[in-house]
């Protein structure tokens, strides 16, 4: 391969050649044209100046052109270098951003996953809540139907009994012989009637908060409905306010409140124990204290027990909704519920209900 000869070699060779040729030919030409040696010497000096001037000009132009190109290239190179740096920085920044976005997306997906898990849990609980609500609604309809069907024959019995009693009285038939039988029938009717009307009140399906609610009667009803659960196992001590406290509220919903609290108290007692119920009137509020000798509630759980779906019962045994529903009903009645508990000793639930809701609301409206 032939190496490309470098520019500076060519230039030096050309300079030597042109210089040499100039000296040889110009001297020869001068000697031909001029014969006077003095003139020749002077001309030779001029010729030297002329050569220096021409070659100087030539080199100036050549160098300028060449250096100009070099400088341009250098500037371009610098620019490229700068650009390249900027591009790298830019690209790095973009990459950082993408990484950031990706990690954000990742955590969002994680969060969404978490949320979905939560939603799924909620849905599961909601489903059991719906099933429970549906069951309660069906029980309400069923109870009302059964109550109606029982009340009519009960009416025959009571009507017949009243007729018999009046007949015996009028005809003066030995009352001491029949009295016991008649009284037994009456007691039976009263007991059945109490159960049916208690069930009816509990499943009463209206939403008003303006019914007159006899707190003592409601709690008594709840105990009657739960009697099978409590009988022989739990001693119930009742201490009711006298005269009975009548508050404004919803009879059916208040039944639900006390059934839930009493049911919890009963379930907290593993074998045998005691439930103490006390109601009293503070003048503005009806207070009910229900104390059990059950297993109690751990301090860490105490703040969570009214949260929906919170339960310490085994799966399938409790929905975690009882106290949450209870709490909501009490809030609806503008009341309050407090718990105090000693693990292993028992729990006291205190329910405070204002005697008249309307007064409170009227005052609120007035303020507004």
């Amino acid at each position: 391969m032939i190496k490309k000869i470098r520019f500076e070699y060519i230039l030096t060779a050309a300079y030597l050649l042109v210089g040499g040729l100039w000296i040889i030919f110009s001297d020869y030409l001068l000697n031909v044209v001029i014969s006077n040696p003095e003139t020749i010497t002077r001309m030779q000096t001029y010729k030297g100046w002329f050569y220096v001037a021409v070659t100087g000009l030539f080199f100036f132009i050549l160098l300028r052109k060449h250096l100009h190109k070099l400088r341009e290239t250098e500037t371009e190179l610098q620019q490229h270098r700068d650009n390249l740096h900027e591009m790298v920085v830019e690209k790095t920044r973009k990459l950082d951003k993408i990484v950031e976005e990706l990690s954000l997306k990742n955590s969002t997906i994680k969060q969404q996953n978490e949320d979905l898990k939560h939603v799924l849990e909620n849905l599961n609980s909601m489903q059991s809540q719906l099933i429970q609500a549906e069951k309660m609604a069906s029980i309400g309809v069923l109870t009302a139907g059964i109550a109606h069907e029982i009340n009519n024959p009960l009416n025959y019995i009571l009507g017949g009994l009243t007729g018999l009693e009046n007949y015996f009285k009028e005809e003066n038939i030995q009352l001491e012989n029949t009295d016991f039988f008649l009284k037994s029938i009456r007691t039976g009717i009263e007991r059945v009637n109490a159960i049916v009307s208690g069930l009816n009140k509990m499943s009463r399906n209206n939403t008003t908060l303006e019914e007159n609610c006899d707190l003592n009667e409601i709690i008594g009803n709840c105990l009657m409905i739960l009697s099978n659960e409590l009988k022989y196992r739990i001693h119930v001590e009742e201490q009711y306010a006298e005269p009975p406290i009548i508050i404004q509220g919803n009879v059916g919903k208040l039944h639900q409140v006390f059934i839930n609290i009493l049911m919890n108290a009963s379930q907290a007692i593993p074998k045998e124990g005691q439930i103490r119920i006390r109601t009293f009137n503070t003048g503005t509020a009806a207070v009910t204290e229900i104390t059990d000798t059950g297993s109690g509630i751990d301090e860490v759980d105490l703040s969570k027990i009214t949260e929906p779906f919170f339960t310490t019962k085994d799966p399938g045994k409790g929905t975690g909704l009882g106290l949450s529903i209870t709490y909501n009903i009490i809030k609806e009645h503008k009341g309050e519920m407090h718990f105090s508990s000693l693990p292993g000793k028992g729990t006291t639930v205190t329910v405070e209900l204002p005697i008249k809701i309307t007064h409170y609301e009227k005052a609120q409206n007035f303020v507004r």
């Binding site: 009302a144 009416n155 019995i157 009507g159 007729g163 209206n206």
Partner: protein, 123 residues
């Protein structure tokens, strides 16, 4: 003196017979198995001042019957006797003054007799 007449409307025949028998000393209880028949009885017996009606009956409810009966005889005293718990319809009738009171089944015939006596005194 002629016994005052009252009307009792109920779709259960035994309820009708029992009230009739239990009150027979003081009152003459006319009966009807549904609202339509009840309205007929009221039209033909203008001396009836006190009316008791069951709630759930064929053709029309007790409240429905009392609404039409009130149009016919506005001065009368009306009562509902029901085997169901109190409901919104009964509460509304009480609030409007359409009925004076409601009785739950099983009812004590003596209580009904007392209410009739009281009702006839003030009317």
């Amino acid at each position: 003196m002629k016994k005052p007449r009252i009307l009792y409307v109920d779709d259960e025949p035994l309820n009708l017979l029992l009230l009739k028998a239990n009150l027979s000393k003081q009152y003459e209880v006319l009966t009807a198995p549904d609202g339509i028949a009840g309205l007929e009885v009221l039209k033909n017996n203008r001396d009836i001042k006190v009316v008791f009606s069951d709630m759930k009956m064929p053709h029309m409810s007790g409240i429905e019957f009392i609404r039409q009966a009130t149009a016919l005889a506005p001065e009368n005293h009306y009562y509902i006797v029901t085997g169901f718990d109190i409901n919104a319809e009964i509460q509304k009738a009480l609030d409007e003054g359409l009925i004076r009171k409601y009785f739950s089944k099983p009812f004590n015939p003596d209580e009904i007799a007392n209410e009739i006596r009281h009702s006839l005194q003030i009317s």
